[in-house]
Symmetry: C2
Subunit: 283 residues, 2 copies
């Protein structure tokens, strides 16, 4: 049963299957539309800036999206010796894209998002995340990412970032071996995938661990999960999982130590620390 919130000044997301709910105090509903794929809402909150909600699930807030977007991009980018072509699957709010664009070695960014409306709405309500949308290196493909990846040229992408919704509904196929096989084929020799992999304390057995298995079954040699805080997501604790054709390690360590762009969360120490495995997840 969902939480009954009769007070219209709060937005509440009930995560009924894990028995929790998270609420943000809101000032107004700024935008609501039904796109071809989902219900898109933007709330103005009292303390977290703007809030994007897709089909009732919180996607991001102005205040704390930096945690997720930085950890979905920089650990992977610095784990590759020369990332030239980066593909982002999903990522419609463009926050991940913006972080990737900060790496000057990247020559091409392809974003494959099924719902163009998410990007257009983000340009309006999260303009600070969309500052790289007109970067000449960036190419938007508004289409199905599984088909796009199936048809991608072999050995053409260095890093694939899967910045998708949860593995229920439209994004389900993005958590399966078949998709990972397409990714592996599209990747160059030292290529790697990084994908959001849900809450370590709520979804490890049901989602994260099976992801490792599917990635390995698709032929990836090494998989590793990294951890970070994310207040607006269920349990406030989130993860991303990397899969590599070879080994996963911090290759561009000098660049990570001497960052030539601004970050709010990520730095060299955070990179190394993010991979520390809590004891209860080692079994």
């Amino acid at each position: 049963m969902e939480i009954q919130n009769t007070d219209s000044t709060w937005f509440t997301e009930s995560a009924t299957e894990i028995g929790t709910a998270f609420s943000l105090a809101t000032s107004s509903l700024l935008h609501q539309e039904k796109s071809a794929y989902q219900n898109i809402e933007i709330y103005q909150t009292k303390t977290f800036g703007n809030l994007m909600v897709l089909d009732g699930f919180i996607m991001l807030s102005t205040r704390d999206n930096f945690l997720y977007h930085e950890m979905m991009s920089h650990p992977a980018l610095f784990s590759h010796s020369h990332p030239k072509h980066v593909a982002i699957v999903g990522g419609g709010d463009c926050g991940t894209l913006q972080q990737v664009a900060q790496h000057s070695c990247v020559e091409k960014i392809t974003q494959i998002e099924i719902d163009e409306r998410v990007t257009r709405v983000s340009e309006q309500y999260f303009p600070e995340l969309c500052t790289s949308n007109h970067d000449p290196r960036v190419n938007f493909e508004f289409c199905d990412a599984i088909e796009w990846m199936r048809d991608a040229h072999a050995d053409s992408i260095d890093i694939i970032i899967v910045d998708s919704t949860d593995p229920i509904g439209p994004a389900e196929g993005l958590f399966r071996k078949q998709f990972y096989q397409y990714c592996r084929s599209a990747l160059t020799d030292n290529g790697l995938v990084i994908q959001q992999s849900e809450s370590p304390i709520a979804h490890w057995e049901s989602i994260t661990k099976p992801m490792h298995h599917e990635m390995q079954a698709a032929g990836f040699k090494q998989t590793k999960t990294l951890f970070f805080p994310q207040p607006v997501y269920p349990t406030g604790w989130w993860s991303a999982t990397m899969a590599a054709k070879n080994d996963i390690h911090l290759v561009r360590d000098h660049d990570a130590k001497q960052l030539n762009f601004d970050t709010k969360y990520y730095n060299y120490d955070i990179h190394l620390s993010a991979f520390a495995m809590p004891s209860f997840l080692k079994t």
Copy 2:
């Protein structure tokens, strides 16, 4: 304005000053009493085990208290070469005490909790946290911790763990220079304090940073904050701050690597990683 939750099957804590609320699905209210100091409630939740609530604020749940209790104890204990006498300020649920008692080098544990009812209720509803309450090394003092610390013998305690409620109301004095001076005087030469220090993203400027200043003003040479997830606390991201008469570093690194007791979260890698400072907190 607090969230209006009309559904009695959820317990909701509104953190109105930070504009968030967190809810847990509940099955029943197991216990409620008004002690001399506060309102004590125990709920049975659907997915987080039992839940202790003091004056409307969530203290701990069966499911995720290990994160907090392990990080309030082991990083400090392994940062001291020979912790013999450990004092716990607050800690009425006894979860921290239990973790401390796992260190066989500890000869004496004194717990100074103002409200004996919290401990008695915990013995009933969190018996798994109270397994060391009758350890012959343990001494309970149910009294005011500031007065107790003021009157403590100089050079008599190796580690002081301040496992208190938030710095509003009764616990306010525990976040002040005067208390830290009492602590410093009671500590042995290599002594250190560790204290819960709220949410890095919600309370850094208002609580954590001032704590560092107060600790340093009290004469502590070094202060450091460590970070960990804690789903049932506001923002799901929490911190503890250490203050040392000398330097803070992992002294018993061999013991931390070769743990001779079970942990669910803490291990050697987690210890080192917990101190990584997010970039936005470095300014």
